[in-house]
């Protein structure tokens, strides 16, 4: 598809060699774009926090290229006080952090993990809210581990990301072709 698009432009250049408005050289680097994307499909510098809940909550914080957010600072807010931190702490070298929410304060616990301007906030339901999240009865869900990826590029497979990226790139190429033809 890429080679075909470039070939099409080259034909136009041959037809109108004097037309300075056609900047076909700009299309050449595009041939490299899909290769670069394949080499590193998910390496945007976002962050991705997953957690497991049971009696305690275990977090794993990673940049979305899979690198752990070692030493990232964790701030936890209880459901009834979103202003003052209930607890603060630091992730270990693997980006892990474990804490025991107060079971007498059910609701949505907010956990912010951040390091050097990158980070994310996850909302972890505890108690009654957790039962809803797990889709089970309260007594069961309270101790059933719930694995839930949150934030970052979670939810998309590398192939989906590749297709999304390629569609944006193709949109840009299409814009360029549209304006070239209007000259």
């Amino acid at each position: 598809m890429w080679a075909k698009a470039t070939a099409k432009i080259r034909v136009k250049v041959d037809i109108m060699p004097g037309a300075k408005s056609i900047r076909w050289y700009y299309l050449l680097p595009l041939l490299l774009l899909p290769a670069l994307a394949l080499a590193a499909p998910v390496t945007a510098h976002g962050s991705n926090i997953s957690y497991t809940t049971g009696p305690a909550v275990a977090l794993v914080a990673q940049f979305d290229n899979g690198e752990p957010m070692a030493g990232a600072q964790v701030t936890i807010y209880a459901p009834d006080d979103p202003v003052n931190p209930w607890m603060t702490g630091t992730c270990d070298a693997e980006g892990r952090f474990t804490f025991m929410p107060d079971p007498d304060r059910p609701g949505n616990w907010e956990v912010q993990v951040r390091q050097s301007g990158h980070g994310d906030i996850v909302v972890i339901p505890v108690g009654a809210g957790m039962a809803t999240a797990a889709g089970m009865g309260e007594g069961v869900a309270r101790y059933a581990p719930v694995m839930q990826p949150v934030g970052g590029v979670g939810g998309y497979t590398p192939l989906q990301l590749l297709v999304m990226g390629a569609s944006v790139v193709w949109g840009c190429v299409g814009t360029a072709l549209f304006f070239i033809n209007r000259k």
């Binding site: 670069l36 390496t43 945007a44 600072q73 951040r114 050097s116 301007g117 840009c172 304006f179």
Partner: protein, 240 residues
């Protein structure tokens, strides 16, 4: 180096939208005053694609890893068009990959767009050496590519260091921010060299492209299309 949602205070995000909006307005006004505002839209569109993809390319700089930005390259090659190009690239990075964020779109656009205009100014230094000088063009390209990113890193550093929330361990967070900013030094040099190579290549094959971006008025090859006839193909071509 994109600032995500939830890191900056709301006031900073709002101020970022104000400065980003003003910057975009200024750039669009400058573009609209050119003889043919559409002439460079194809380049801008293709470099938007390059900017969009560049953040996927990671460079490991222990203990962290950083990615390409290319805002200096866009400034050098596009001039004022770099601002809308960066804004559109950032928007798609935010909505598609949660890279950056919609609340911080204005902040990020200012952080990268303003230095892109600086890169454009730095690249004009090549006229001091004469338009044909390859050494002068290469040096100015390096300065533009590296200077554009360096200023963006400084803005990034300044914004983060002055807005660390009191609930965090400020000393530790400041050290982490400083480490990340310093990790961008190799990227600054790399993008400078890359920009220099690109402008030297263009100087050899299509020097008119560099002139157009640098405010040098190139001869207008065809009359500007009539804007009232946008859908009619070839409306500006002479009749046989």
């Amino acid at each position: 180096m994109h600032l995500p949602d939830g890191i900056l205070p709301v006031t900073v995000c709002a101020a970022g939208y104000a400065t980003g909006g003003a910057l975009t307005w200024y750039a669009l006004r400058k573009i609209n005053r050119q003889a043919n505002p559409r002439a460079r839209v194809p380049q801008a569109a293709l470099l938007t694609a390059a900017f969009f993809v560049a953040s996927w390319i990671h460079i490991p700089v222990p203990p962290t890893s950083v990615h390409l930005i290319l805002n200096g390259l866009l400034g050098v090659l596009l001039g004022y068009y770099a601002v809308p190009a960066i804004l559109i690239g950032l928007f798609f990075q935010a909505v598609m990959f949660q890279h950056g964020g919609l609340t911080t779109l204005g902040v990020n656009a200012t952080m990268m767009g303003l230095p892109a205009l600086l890169a454009y100014v730095l690249f004009r230094l090549r006229f001091l050496f004469g338009r044909e000088s390859r050494a002068g063009t290469g040096l100015a390209g390096f300065l533009g590519g590296a200077g554009g990113l360096a200023l963006a890193v400084l803005i990034f550093y300044g914004l983060l260091v002055t807005t660390i929330p009191a609930t965090l361990d400020i000393r530790m967070e400041r050290a982490a921010i400083t480490a990340l900013a310093l990790a961008h030094i190799p990227v600054v040099l790399l993008e400078g060299v890359f920009t220099a190579l690109v402008v030297l290549f263009l100087q050899r094959v299509r020097p008119d492209l560099l002139d157009g971006a640098s405010g040098w008025t190139p001869p207008v090859p065809v009359a500007a299309p009539d804007p009232s006839l946008p859908g009619i193909r070839g409306a500006d071509e002479p009749h046989a």
